[in-house]
Amino acid sequence: LKVSSITLSWFRGAAAGITLPANGKSLAVYGSNGAGKSSFVDALEYAIQGKVDHLSHEYSGKRQEHGLLNTHRGKSDTTRIEIALADKASRQLTFGKDGAVTSVGTDKPPISEWDYRRTILRQDEVSRFISATKGDKYSALLPLLGLATMEQAAESLRLLAKTIDESAKTKELAGALSFMEGQRAKHFGASTLEQIADAGQDILAHYAVTVEEGEDLGQALARALAAIEAQVTHASAAQRRWVTIAELGSVALAAGLEKLKGSLVAFAAEAQPLLDEQLAVLSAAGQLAPLIDENTVSFVCPACGRDITPTTFKEHIAAEKLRLERVIALRDVRDAALYEVTQGVATIVRCMNKPELAAWREEDVPRRESADALQRILTAAGRDSIDPKEIPVLEVVAVELVEAAAIAARAAPPDAARLSADKDIASTVRLILEADALSAKLANARRVREYVETAEREVRAEIRTRATAVIDAISKDVRTLWSVLQPERPIKDIRLYMPEGTYKALDVRLTFHGVNQDSPRLTLSEGLRNSLGLCIFLAMAQQQPHHNRPLVLDDVIVSLDRQHRGMLADVLVNYFGDRQVLLFTHDRDWFAELRHMLPASDWTFHTLLPYESPLVGIRWSSTGSSFDDARALLAARPDSAGNDARKIMDSQLMLIAERLQLHLPFVRGEKNEMRMAHTLLEYLVPAAKKFLQIRAEKQHVGHKDAVASLEDAAKRLAAWGNRASHTHDVVRPEADSLITSCEKALAAFSCTECSKPVWRAEVKASNFHQCECGALRWRYGKDG
């Protein structure tokens, strides 16, 4: 599935058809900023994921049409991407004006199934990854590990556990049971269930209600309660008043508040120290867990400071889990008590708002104010339980109100008192009879919820196990690549890890000058962080199960210095030699270096012309020469064109000098970067006179034309190159001839017959470098 070509028409910066000619080989593309390199990468990204990430913003349109389609295409122009693969399959994407895409192709599997993050790496993604949070790193890498579905399942399970609680109304059920216990104690003390049922039968008899066939006592009591309510409704206003006052006076709020305060104290006493300790324990366990060897006899526990065995350590963790479960049970008790108090307040407010109690309410100002205060508290709670902060208020106003009603109820006439008491007892008996069913329902819901919670924990444990295995393999590759890319750095033991005690987190750990660091952000410079990000991406790409798919690197070396850029070429040759690499760069010096370093048998090199306009579009340089950058400046800024030509000569001659092992009074490396073209030519011209030879009939002779070209370039660089750089007074014809002369001088090192450079092959026995056909050669060594 190597790429044979990518053809763009009116896509991004492209005008009419422009083709990236890969032919299944690796390729390096140089283009100055804006030349259109990324348009090819965007096309591949679009074909893979149906969008281009860096175009995702509010102005790009619903289908990114404002960014994808060339802004200057004509009415009859069609925007199209065609990706041809080396196995003759292809994929064509044709865009409508609104960005709608028609996709046809014979690629199997389709390109849309390629893994984008293991295929394309852009510079901004490298730096973004390292500076991302642990959670963002996890999100970025998890899909690469093939575990995204499991993560979604775990999240669904977490939400499902909450939904089960809501659907089963577990809080309400627990609250109702708690309330029932209070009422039972109040009305029946230690009476047995049979005695309680007898009390229920008495009520039925009093109101002439019988248990019908197929009906149980609870259902019959429900009918009896309806009968009591009907009697109250049809009673006189005075009687209704007494019944309501009695109901108000019987609200067991004081007991409920005591229960609530007790549960809050118990919960706080258990939970607060647990939370504090849990943080310390988890933190310590998180640091320790990766270090514990199964064969370790004992170690000092960072949580308790004692010398313990791994088994004891595990027991500590188990004990913490038990404590956590106890806190959860206390939380349930607290929630039930809160619910019970809330229901009590709701009953008080309901009674106080009844018309028959209006006079009683208004006859005492503090009583009316208490009723208003309770109404506000209940309204503020909305559908939730009331805020525990209101307990002191409730202890005063609500309890006083209930006590006043209880005192007033003592004066109630017997028939009204009986109605009120029967109503209370019937409700309580009914609740007691339903308690078993409610308890079973609550236990059932909790059992299902716990089952779902266990499933979530187990899925997350599975994610961790699977991710750890892949992460370990990636970490090993990262260390290998880092040792090639940054061999002299005292940064060791790099590995990706999932911090203990967290689920959705991933970070990079390393040893910096012998000191462990839990994140590269703590100590590494931006350049080193980017280098590390590049290693991680390349390691991920190495884990790619489909090694026949290409690897695309878009300007990834921006923050690497010259030495490490060179090492990246080594990485590509030695570790990705079997992969097709599509490499795009705006770094002219590195591109020139790559032409020397990457094997011509596997790599091709292409140069883009500087971008002119959307109608002209992306263009390849016909010469493949970097001097096209300089030529593009001739009309508008001839001094810049001349300066550009000189800079190209600086870097190209430096590379040539190294390739030819020219004896220079300075060493390879950074010092060379300081050498100027005219200095290098001072050594290259006399060396070329002695060592550069061309085949003439059957023997090699000195290459006089080449020497003349070098001398001409040296003269023009001295005259116009320096002026272009420093005094900026070079005119167009001067700059033009300087560019032509420099281009010709560099061409002197390539064979006109086989077009290969003179350093293509080495004949060590004869101390020769030579081109492929042997027509051009350079003798090296002490004797020349």
Binding site: Q152, S156, L160, E166, V448, Y451, T454, A455
Partner: protein, 70 residues
């Protein structure tokens, strides 16, 4: 594990462990949850309405049959 449930290979280990830890949950609940998990898309978690329907299913299934030891 619950019988007749279609289990993606990567769920097998965690769900086997989950079932082993909850012998008090009946097989109808286990089957329903495993089937639902197999249908979770990899792009986003289940929607609110899907979750509500699944929660109701699980609660109903848990009440239909008596708990069994798997």
């Amino acid at each position: 594990m619950a019988e007749n449930a279609v289990v993606p290979p990567w769920y097998e280990a965690p769900m086997t462990r989950t079932c082993a830890k909850h012998p008090d949950v009946n097989s109808a609940v286990k089957s329903r949850l495993i089937t639902a998990l197999a249908e979770v898309p990899d792009s986003k978690p289940l929607s609110k309405s899907d979750l509500a329907a699944l929660a109701t299913d699980l609660l109903n299934a848990s009440e239909i049959t008596s708990p069994s030891v798997e």
